[in-house]
């Protein structure tokens, strides 16, 4: 009985590059299976965060459970587990995939395969998933299905003879695709009678429900009011609610073996429902946990400071609340001579950093200064002691340093053949070492080892610009290597401004310093006095620029009776100043703190 039920379940993910139509396809499935009425159908339902929808990206894993009436007369339960598409969030992908038996590989029929897709597809194959290739956007005039199909065979190495052609936008091929999902993708295995084991795919904090966990039942089952145990903490809880997203939250009495759904069990602290942990029954517990996930480590650090120092407490609260739903966000208090009290925050990448900053400003109404992001350096002191440095200003005195080591990544880049030259030039400029090149039909896969610090800055934008948007990137952390790094300080009117300091490779320090002060001259508005911007290494000044003083700032004509216009003008000036931080007597806009991100640009 229960085995038959299990046979009617299909758990799958969609692997796709940003913009290749994953969310639209998911929406189409929901519509096809009557998951929502037309009225409820808000475009791209799965990206539920406002920011996700705005940026067209998926940040958190989500799931939707649909009932599909197949042509064989049976009703199937299709569980679609969404995966994030951006490299910053790639760790979430393997989590989602672990809960699935199959994956749909969606490739834009005009754009072709991208590096990120390849990496995710390999992960799926490694995890033993059945991969179903699909070409999307076949309604577009630029669609070239034969070329892209053979590219998938060349690059990803999966058979595309029976590739499905769909248009998520117009609905072409969706019915056939659903049939193939049922026919080709395997049903979940696992013994429904064995001791209960469920994997936590994700946990988040909901203002009404408390901690909610997305789980996949690997064996046994979960029932309402069951006593459960989290294996990592050993703590027991009772299931208060469980169910599926259809995509509306739909409570059920049971999650059977093989099913994916959510559960609420009175867990107060989200860290007690750890992602990757195994849930078992506290009455008859299993002893060995499922293979969990690697804990994610932040790769990029930046200081975040409230523009208004009185906002520090609310800033702390906001970070605390955000981290409830974002286990990868790390933060600890930090003090800067120039900026006062703030936090050093760790992020997965620049996009993650931008998203966090935007959410803090939007959802918590804070005005923040973000300092230039940096990676973590390992510094070996003369004493033999090793310290991790995630803030350039905290670099110990050079005389105490034996060696600085920086993180290195392996970058895999996929691009059409004509851009190989440009991409190689870029990678070498970024201190990269070429490791491999593979020709795959009309594309090439280039492998470089590059310092992470070079990649987190503007590498991704540069890669896109030298390849007219065609090159794509995936990377993994390799380890640490010794590097001749120096600290470039920035002085404003003679005073060293600690949050502006950057660590750069000695060979690049001269031009980086020059570029940095030049960029800053463009970003710092003219003030009542000259502002001197200098870059120095130790006590040696390597570059200097001056922002000339403004002569005056006064409205020539005041319109006697009508003061409304003048007031508006002044309000505008004041609003402009809001995004600025007063350092000594100089007002510095937020952009200037991030100037280092754009150096070497145009």
């Amino acid at each position: 009985m229960s085995n038959q039920r299990q046979n009617l379940i299909r758990n799958f993910a969609i692997i796709a590059h940003i913009d290749h139509g994953k969310s639209t396809l998911a929406d189409r499935f929901i519509q096809y299976c009557d998951g929502l009425s037309d009225r409820e159908m808000e475009a791209q339902v799965l990206d539920s965060m406002e920011l996700e929808r705005e940026r067209g990206i998926t940040i958190k894993a989500q799931s939707v459970s649909l009932k599909y009436q197949a042509k064989d007369g049976l009703e199937y339960q299709l569980n679609l587990i969404d995966t994030p598409g951006h490299v910053d969030f790639s760790y979430e992908v393997s989590r989602s995939l672990t809960a699935c038996e199959g994956a749909i590989l969606v490739v834009d029929a005009s754009q072709g395969v991208e590096a990120q897709t390849v990496a995710n597809c390999y992960t799926a194959v490694d995890l033993g998933l059945e991969v179903l290739p699909v070409l999307n956007k076949i309604d577009l005039p630029a669609a070239d299905t034969d070329r892209v199909a053979s590219e998938i065979e060349d690059v990803v190495g999966i058979d595309c003879s029976g590739v499905l052609l769909v248009s998520a936008k117009t609905g072409i091929g969706i019915g056939e695709l659903l049939e193939e999902i049922v026919r080709i993708l395997p049903a979940p295995q696992g013994d429904a009678e064995a001791g209960t084991m469920a994997l936590i795919i994700d946990s988040w904090f909901d203002n009404y429900l408390g901690t909610v966990s997305l789980v996949r039942v690997m064996q046994g089952s979960l029932k309402l009011r069951d006593k459960i145990r989290m294996l990592a903490t050993g703590k027991d809880h009772q299931i208060d609610e469980l169910g599926v997203f259809s995509p509306k939250r739909t409570p059920k009495k049971e999650l059977a073996c093989g099913e994916v759904g959510y559960l609420v069990s009175g867990v107060k602290n989200i860290t007690d429902a750890k992602v990757g942990d195994t849930i078992t029954s506290s009455i008859s517990p299993v002893d060995t946990a499922l293979v969990g996930f690697q804990e994610v480590q932040p790769r990029v650090f930046a200081g975040l400071y409230p523009v208004n120092s009185a906002d520090f407490e609310s800033f702390r609260d906001a970070l605390g609340k955000l981290s409830l739903n974002d286990a990868s966000l790390h933060f600890e208090p930090e003090t800067s001579d120039a900026l006062g009290f703030g936090f050093r925050c760790g992020f997965l990448g620049l996009l993650h950093m931008e998203i966090v900053q935007e959410r803090l400003e939007r959802e918590y109404d804070l005005e923040l200064i973000t300092t230039a992001p940096t990676v973590v350096y390992k510094v070996e002191l003369n004493s033999g002691e090793e310290v991790s440095i995630s803030n350039p200003a905290a670099l110990p005195d050079l005389s105490r340093i034996e060696q600085v080591r920086e993180p290195i990544i392996r970058a895999n880049m996929l691009m059409p053949l004509e851009y190989i030259g440009a991409v190689i030039t870029l990678c070498i400029e970024k201190r990269g070492t070429q490791k491999d090149i593979q020709y795959l039909g009309r594309q090439a896969m280039l492998t470089f080892e590059i310092p992470l610090s070079e990649v987190v800055m503007d590498f991704f934008d540069k890669l896109k610009s030298v390849s007219r948007g065609y090159a794509s990137l995936d990377y993994e952390l390799l380890g640490y290597e010794a590097a001749d790094m120096v600290k470039v300080d920035v002085l404003i009117n003679g005073d060293c401004v600690d949050p502006l300091a950057v660590l750069v490779h000695r060979e690049q320090s001269q031009y980086r310093g020059r570029d940095l002060v030049k960029r800053m001259r463009e970003l710092i508005p003219r003030q009542m006095f000259d502002v001197a911007i200098q870059a120095s290494i130790g006590s040696k000044i390597i570059a200097r620029e001056t922002v000339k003083a403004l002569r005056k700032n006064v409205t020539a004509k005041c319109y006697g009776g009508d003061i409304t216009r003048k007031k508006k003008l002044l309000e505008k000036q004041k609003a402009g100043k809001k995004r600025m931080k007063q350092i000594g007597s100089v007002e510095i806009p937020q952009e200037a703190f991030l100037a280092v991100l754009n150096i070497g640009g145009d």
């Binding site: 002569r551 005056k552 006064v554 409205t555 020539a556 409304t564 002044l570």
Partner: protein
């Protein structure tokens, strides 16, 4: 409570023969003839109702602005001023200023305006240089500019202001020097010298002219200011200069946060009420709409009480434009607030040497005066 603020009256005549490319005033190009009588009647109807706001106070000054008020006939101005005198008490030494253009058709009316009761004429010269006049889109030429001041004197005006603009498209230090020297040579009692500013919603904003750069603009300002100082004109406001005792009393009243009624299309008014509140209002901007509503209670574009948190800012916005600044006593009289509400920011700005406080007078320092806008933003109420 506080002694009642002096009262002025502003009258707006919104028509021009054509719109100048730099002008963002409420002015409308004349199409066909204006029904002067209807507009004068509307102004008087409007005034009759506004008078209820002032509790019998005496009028100290009148200012007829525009637009181009001198497009109106001497008879219309006579009817207007006579009508005002019937509805409101005028001080015996009332100052009545009218703006006029230097065009030849206007010059012929100067005597009639004087006879109507106008005793101060403000002439929109802007420049004496033919090239600059055409770049500014002005309707008059350089000889008309020169003749205007003489014609005003001839018509019996003893108090004359010339409006001069500088940092004009294509202006050099030399041509600026010639312009200001020419203005001084005519020896008017008052000179208003403005740097040309590009305002939004003007033709110049859409098609920016080639203005002198910052450096040259600054040099030109120095030339203008030095010339005025040498000729014994005294700067009393950011852009206003006068011979001894010849300040414009009407504008001084604005800057000292006095009261004023505003009648005419788009005219603004500000009146202190017996209960201590201060209201600000303006009339409908479109002449047609104004004409239809002037006699009714719906003649206001908007009307509101200035909140306490805005009062300090609004006072300073005006008072700090004056070279002498203000006394704390004046602040307290005009706003009904204690100077203590401003003290924290005032002290901070005194420490920064943006303001000075001497003999109970608070005013801008030389630096503060140059950066007045920046200084004022500190007083804006938090949003």
């Amino acid at each position: 409570m506080n002694p009642v603020a002096p009262l002025s009256l502003y009258i707006h005549l919104p028509w021009c023969t054509r719109k100048c490319p730099y002008c963002d005033f409420n002015s409308h190009e004349l199409r066909g003839a204006v029904d002067e009588n209807a507009y004068v009647q509307a102004l008087l109807d409007d005034l009759k109702q506004d008078v209820k706001l002032i509790d019998g106070r005496e009028l100290q000054t009148i200012f007829i602005g525009g637009g181009t008020p001198s497009l109106f006939s001497g008879q219309a101005i006579t009817d207007l001023l006579d009508g005002i005198a019937l509805n409101i008490n005028c001080a015996p030494d009332i100052e009545v200023t009218m703006e006029a253009n230097p065009g030849s058709s206007e010059l012929n009316k100067f005597s009639a305006f004087r006879a109507a009761g106008v005793n101060r004429l403000s002439i929109g010269i802007q420049s004496f240089n033919a090239k600059h006049l055409s770049a500014l889109g002005r309707a008059h030429n350089s000889s008309e500019a020169l003749n205007a001041a003489k014609a005003a004197k001839h018509a019996g005006f003893e108090r004359i202001n010339l409006d001069i603009m500088y940092a004009l498209p294509g202006q050099t230090a030399e041509s600026a020097n010639e312009d200001i020297a020419q203005a001084i040579k005519l020896s008017p009692e008052h000179l208003s010298c403005y740097q040309l500013t590009i305002e939004p919603n003007t033709l110049f904003h859409k098609q920016p002219p080639n203005l002198p750069n910052d450096q040259l603009g600054w040099e030109i300002q120095e030339i203008v200011h030095n010339s005025l100082n040498r000729a014994n004109y005294k700067q009393y406001e950011v852009s206003a200069w006068s011979k001894l005792g010849e300040e414009c009393r009407h504008n001084l009243n604005y800057w000292q946060f006095g009261d004023y009624l505003g009648i005419g299309a788009g005219a603004h008014g500000k009146v202190s009420r017996p209960d201590g509140s201060i209201i600000r209002y303006w009339k409908h901007k479109q002449p047609k709409r104004y004409l239809h509503s002037a006699h009714t209670n719906s003649r206001f574009g908007d009307r509101k009480i200035i909140s306490e948190k805005e009062l300090g800012f609004e006072f300073l916005l005006n008072a700090l434009r004056l070279k002498v600044g203000f006394t704390p006593k004046l602040f307290e009289q005009r706003t009904g607030l204690s100077i203590d509400v401003l003290q924290p920011i005032l002290s901070e700005q005194i420490d920064k040497h943006w303001l000075t406080q001497t003999n109970s007078n608070i005013k801008c320092s030389e630096t503060g005066y140059r950066f007045l806008d920046q200084l004022l933003t500190d007083y804006l109420p938090p949003d």
